[in-house]
Amino acid sequence: MLLLIGIYSTGLFAQGYEVGDIATDFRLLNVDGNYVSMADYEDAKGIVLIFSCNHCPYVVAYEDRMIELHNTYAPKGFPVVAVNPNDSIAEPRDSYTKMIERAEEKNFPFDYLVDADQLIYPEYGATRTPHVYLLKKEGDQFRVAYIGAIDDNYRDASAVEEHFLANAIDALLAGEHPDPDYTRAIGCTIKVQD
C-alpha cells in the first residue's frame, strides 16, 4: 500500500534538480563582503554546495562536520560552499549580520553565502537545511552528482555508519558515480515570508 502510493506520487515531485542535471551558477554575497560565483572556483573539481543557515538545530549539529569535510576535501578539489536560503525577516536569526557572526564564531573555512533574493534555492529544489548538492565540474559546467544528507546520524557523529557525502566525493575522485546518489534527512524548512 505505502509502496504503491510512493510510486504514484513520485511523479508529482519534480521541482528542482535531479542527479545528472546541470546546475546554474549564481552570484551571491559572502560573509566576507565579496560576491562569489561557482565560476570563481577555477581550480576546483567540483563543489559541495550545502544549503545551510544559522538557526536550525540540524545544521548546528552538522557545522563541525561541514568544517571537517571542507578541510579534508577542499585540498582535493571539492570545497564546501554554504548558502543560506532563509528570508531574514521570516527568521531574523538567519540575517546576513548573524551569518557573519556565526562564521566568525565557528571560524568557517568555507564561503558562506546568502541567497538574499531566494531565487537560487528553488531552482536547485532545496527544501530544507541542511540540504547537500554535490556538483562535479565538467569544463565550465557543474553537473549534479549527489543530492541529500551529509551522513546517516545527525545526532552523533561518532555513531555514523554511512558517510553519504564523503563517500560520494570519494566516488567522484575515483572517477565513479556515487552510490547512493540521493538520500534524505530531516531538516528545517526554508523560511519565506508569508
Binding site: 500500500m1 505505502l2 502510493i5 510512493g6 510510486i7 506520487s9 513520485t10 508529482l12 515531485f13 536550525c56 538545530p57 527568521e91 527544501t127 530544507r128 540540504h131 541529500g148 544528507a149 546517516d152 546520524n153 545527525y154 545526532r155 552523533d156 555513531a159 555508519e161 554511512e162 553519504f164 538520500t183 534524505r184 534527512a185 530531516i186 531538516g187 528545517c188 524548512t189 526554508i190 523560511k191
Partner: protein, 170 residues
C-alpha cells in the same frame, strides 16, 4: 511472593537503566508523558486498518512553523475526537532534551493529542517509508483513512485540515 520480589527487582533494574522508553516528570499526576520509539515500533501507526481517520504530524519544538500550526492539530483533535479522528503528534526532537525542553513545551502548550517522540537518527531509511514525497523538511503530515492517503510537506491551518479530514469521517 518470590515472583513479586523478582518483578520488583526487574522493574528497579529496568528503571535504573532507563530501559522503558517512557519518560515522565515525577512532579505530579497531571504531568505530560512522552513515549519514545524507533521507526519500526512507530510504523504500525501509519497503517492502522480500522474506521478512524489518522492525522499524523511530524514536528519539533525547534521548528517555528511546526509550533505555529500545532494549535490547528489540537483543535482538530478536540473537535473530532469523538468522531474517530486520531491525531498523533510525532516529535523529532533530540531525545536528550525530553526533560528540559519537550515535556515543558508540552505542558506549556497543554497538548491533548497523543504525542510521541521518534528517536531514529537514520532518517534516510525511514523518511521514504512515511512517504516517497517527503524530502525531510518539517512540518510534514500524513492523513489517512480506509479509502484515503495523502502526504503534506507544508504548514496547516485548522480549516485546511478540516477540509481534508471532514469528508473522510465515516
Amino acid at each position: 511472593m518470590k515472583y513479586i520480589g523478582t518483578i520488583i527487582i526487574m522493574l528497579a533494574v529496568f528503571a535504573g537503566l532507563n530501559f522503558f522508553p517512557v519518560y515522565a516528570s515525577p512532579v505530579s499526576a497531571e504531568d505530560k508523558e512522552i513515549e519514545v520509539m524507533d521507526f519500526d515500533t512507530f510504523s504500525p501507526r501509519l497503517e492502522m486498518d480500522n474506521d478512524s481517520v489518522y492525522v499524523i504530524n511530524f514536528w519539533a519544538t525547534w521548528c517555528a512553523p511546526c509550533v505555529r500550526e500545532l494549535p490547528a492539530f489540537e483543535q482538530l483533535n478536540e473537535t473530532y475526537s469523538d468522531r474517530k479522528v486520531k491525531v498523533i503528534l510525532v516529535s523529532l526532537d533530540n531525545p536528550d532534551l525530553i526533560d528540559d525542553r519537550v515535556i515543558p513545551f508540552m505542558e506549556r502548550m497543554d497538548l491533548q493529542s497523543e504525542v510521541l517522540l521518534l528517536d531514529d537518527p537514520n532518517s534516510n531509511r525511514w523518511i521514504p517509508l512515511v512517504s516517497e514525497e517527503w524530502s525531510g523538511a518539517i512540518p510534514a503530515t500524513v492523513i489517512y483513512s480506509a479509502g484515503h492517503r495523502s502526504f503534506h510537506e507544508r504548514e496547516f491551518e485548522f480549516d485546511e485540515l478540516e477540509e481534508i479530514v471532514l469528508p473522510l469521517i465515516q
